[in-house]
């Protein structure tokens, strides 16, 4: 459906995007990830026709997306990271405006505005100004404004920034409903658990280049560790700390050990290796205050690809 091919963009000497390519299939949700300054926003801006690429192209169902009155834009919806709403314009008027930009008018526009307000649960606040809304309500209206023209592809740039868990959940319900309707989504976020919940394909960008482009399951398989075991010891005086870490690292199936006081973070090649590790600790005479196992997270994949160095 969407084909991003060899996109490049430079600002002076700085290459913000360097040959980015990926595809979005119909009904697919793609999580677009990257650290700050990786080139995500520039890529999204080029996909939406806000910035002209130096090289490469964006096509939607074979039609090129360009700046200006490109017909392909009619099938795209953008939910910007900012609350891009007129705060002093009633919610329904905001929606009518953004609907009219896509050619909707009259009864059809009014009907559609009411439908999307209902979809995001704001029907009873139609005549109120966004300046009187909570952060979560504004975020929902921000999404609604991108849905007026019934786009086939919805691009969401960090749509849940600064909202409480209830609003986040409500937004996810809306997005999952859209996904169920067969719409394609591109979702950028720094909240990895959100992307894990929603995306069925992940694209990770850093330094303007695509580092990974695969379904989540395939990305997990690429990692040397598949599971994690967190242990909190009740005592630390059985074995010296350095010896304990070295001994654990030498056990079969253990990929790495990090110690922080009485807490141990043990990376495993598979969840089946957790039981022998716990048994070994018991045999050494350690008492466990708490333990938990977890599957490797998307964040681990992200950090393994982009590193742990601060970007800001």
């Amino acid at each position: 459906m969407l084909s991003v091919s060899g996109l490049s963009k430079s600002y002076g000497e700085r290459r913000a995007v360097d040959g980015v390519s990926f595809q979005v299939q119909r009904g697919q949700t793609v999580g677009l990830l990257g650290p700050n300054g990786a080139g995500k926003s520039t890529t999204v801006s080029m996909i939406c026709g806000l910035i002209k690429p130096d090289a490469g192209s964006v096509t939607l169902d074979g039609e090129t997306v360009t700046q200006g009155a490109s017909a392909a834009k009619q099938r795209l919806g953008l939910v910007p990271q900012d609350l891009a709403l007129y705060e002093e314009l009633p919610a329904i008027e905001n929606l009518k405006l953004f609907g009219a930009l896509y050619g909707l008018k009259g009864v059809a526009l009014n009907k559609r505005a009411e439908e999307v307000l209902a979809l995001v649960g704001l029907s009873d606040r139609a005549k109120d100004k966004p300046s009187t809304f909570s952060g979560g309500m504004k975020r929902r209206l921000n999404i609604a404004a991108a849905l007026l023209h019934d786009p086939q592809l919805l691009i969401l740039d960090e749509p849940t920034v600064g909202v409480d868990p209830q609003s986040r959940n409500a937004i996810f319900d809306t997005l999952e409903a859209l996904k169920a309707q067969g719409r394609s989504l591109i979702y950028t976020s720094h909240y990895m658990e959100e992307v894990e919940r929603l995306a069925d394909h992940i694209v990770i960008i850093d330094h303007g280049k695509v580092l990974a482009d695969a379904p989540p399951a395939e990305l997990y398989r690429r990692l040397p560790t598949q599971a994690a075991l967190q242990v909190e010891l009740a005592d630390t005086d059985i074995l010296p700390a350095e010896l304990l870490v070295a001994s654990l690292a030498g056990l079969p199936g253990v990929a790495g050990v990090r110690r922080d006081g009485v807490s141990l973070d043990i990376s495993l090649h598979g969840a089946t290796h957790a039981a022998p590790v716990l048994r070994w600790l018991d045999e050494q005479g350690h008492t466990l205050a708490h333990f938990a196992t977890a599957r490797t997270k998307l964040e681990d994949i992200f950090l393994s690809l982009t590193g742990r160095t601060l970007r800001d």
Partner: protein, 426 residues
């Protein structure tokens, strides 16, 4: 077209919902224009304001009293008698622009010195140094009243006049012989006979000793093609232009805020061009500007009897000014980096524009070089155009000229703005 209409509609709703902006753009120019209009002569129906002066009357002679009474009777002056100390204190404090002292013995000394050279009696005049123009006007009027008072007394049939003539003749006779002496003795002899004849007449037949007076009067005719001059018309034009330009700044700041808030990107993500977005903002800004100007002049017509003498011409000038204002707003948005920085700079630029454009005081009071310089200031054409279509009562040709120049400025501003926006979008 649907998109452009929707964006214009949005701007109009937002503007009308912003009661504070509406108050600032509509009420403030009316209040300030009412004030400035009264300074510029109001609606022209009332009397001109009098110059208030102080009079220290120390001379009780006939001439001294005549000069004092004559000053009090002058229609251009409002004279208050006071002590010398009070006069000095009030002038020093800025509560009085000018005070005239008629010192003791002034009348006699002035009468004596009419036909002889040598030292003249002095009239102390105290004045506020910031009011030198008023000093010149008062001195002119004082000259007239003193001459009239002194010569009236000398040439009339009064005993004082006869005594001055006798004294002058005695001094002349004691002086060395010359041709001038003979001529002056002859003149004073004739004057003495005239005085004796006047003195012999019954009081009602006497000429009354009018003395020397200014040998002309002026017939003042205010010339304009329009109705009677109305100072409010210019004041409303000036203040209207100023505050509507402030509204134009808000047009630009609104775009900068939309960019900061991400609304700009949301608009441009739709299948519309940047030119359409800018055009809609310019049109909505122009509609608001034109509506404000019409409302401001409507108030001027209702409250201060300002007349629009050429409705079509007025409409042309207003529409051209409205478009110029809107494109000025786009220019601010195009070259402004942040809303805060752009607002400060734009307000400064606007104040310079309205000052040079004659919005505060008419351009004809400017020095000639500045009047020539302000031809390149768009607000000058707006104010001149509005003046022409109101109290000057000029024709459609002037409206076309002033509107045309404003439209040219609008085109230049708009083209620069679009160019800049396109460069930024690359």
């Amino acid at each position: 077209m649907t998109a452009i209409i929707a964006m214009i509609r949005k701007d109009l709703i937002l503007y009308l919902n912003d009661k504070r902006a509406l108050m600032l753009n509509l009420l403030m120019p009316i209040v300030l224009a009412a004030f400035f209009g009264s300074l510029f002569g109001g609606s022209g129906s009332g009397n001109n304001s009098k110059i208030e002066i102080g009079l220290v009357q120390q001379d009780s002679s006939v001439i001294g009293r005549k000069v004092g009474d004559s000053l009090k009777a002058d229609a251009n002056l409002s004279v208050k008698e006071m002590s010398q100390q009070e006069a000095q204190d009030k002038v020093r404090a800025g509560k009085l622009m000018v005070a005239v002292v008629i010192p003791s013995g002034f009348g006699d000394a002035a009468g004596q010195s009419l036909f002889q050279s040598g030292s003249k009696p002095e009239l102390p005049v105290y004045y506020d140094p910031s009011q030198s123009t008023v000093l010149a006007m008062v001195k002119g009027l004082l000259t007239q009243h003193v001459m009239q008072g002194v010569t009236g007394e000398v040439m009339g049939g009064s005993a004082t006049g006869a005594k001055f003539t006798d004294d002058s003749l005695k001094r002349l006779e004691a002086s060395p012989a010359s041709e001038d002496k003979e001529a002056l003795v002859g003149l004073l002899g004739s004057l003495k006979k005239f005085q004796e004849r006047e003195a012999a007449k019954p009081a009602k037949e006497s000429s009354g000793g009018g003395g020397l007076s200014v040998p002309f009067t002026t017939k003042d005719e205010a010339l304009s093609s329009g109705p009677k001059y109305n100072g409010y018309a210019h004041a409303f034009a000036g203040m209207g232009v100023q505050f509507i330009l402030f509204m134009g700044i808000d047009v630009g700041i609104g775009i900068l805020l939309a960019r900061r808030m991400g609304i700009w990107n949301r608009l441009l993500a739709a299948p519309i061009t940047m030119s359409q977005v800018l055009l809609s903002r310019a049109l909505s800004g122009a509609m608001i500007a034109a509506g404000l100007m019409v409302a401001i002049f409507f108030a001027a017509m209702l409250m201060f009897k300002v007349e629009v003498t050429n409705v079509v011409g007025f409409a042309l000038v207003v529409v051209a000014f409205a478009l110029m204002t809107a494109s000025f707003g786009l220019l601010i948005a195009a070259f402004g980096k942040t809303p805060e920085a752009a607002r400060g700079l734009a307000v400064f630029a606007t104040l310079i524009l309205v000052m040079l454009g004659g919005a505060w005081v008419p351009t004809f009071v400017f020095p000639t070089w500045m009047q020539q310089l302000t031809v390149v200031v768009p607000t000058r054409w707006a104010v001149d155009g509005l003046d022409a279509m109101t109290w000057r009562g000029l024709g459609i040709d002037v409206a076309l000229q002033t509107a045309g120049v404003q439209l040219a400025f609008a085109a230049v501003f708009g083209a620069l703005a679009i160019w800049r926006f396109r460069v930024q979008a690359r």
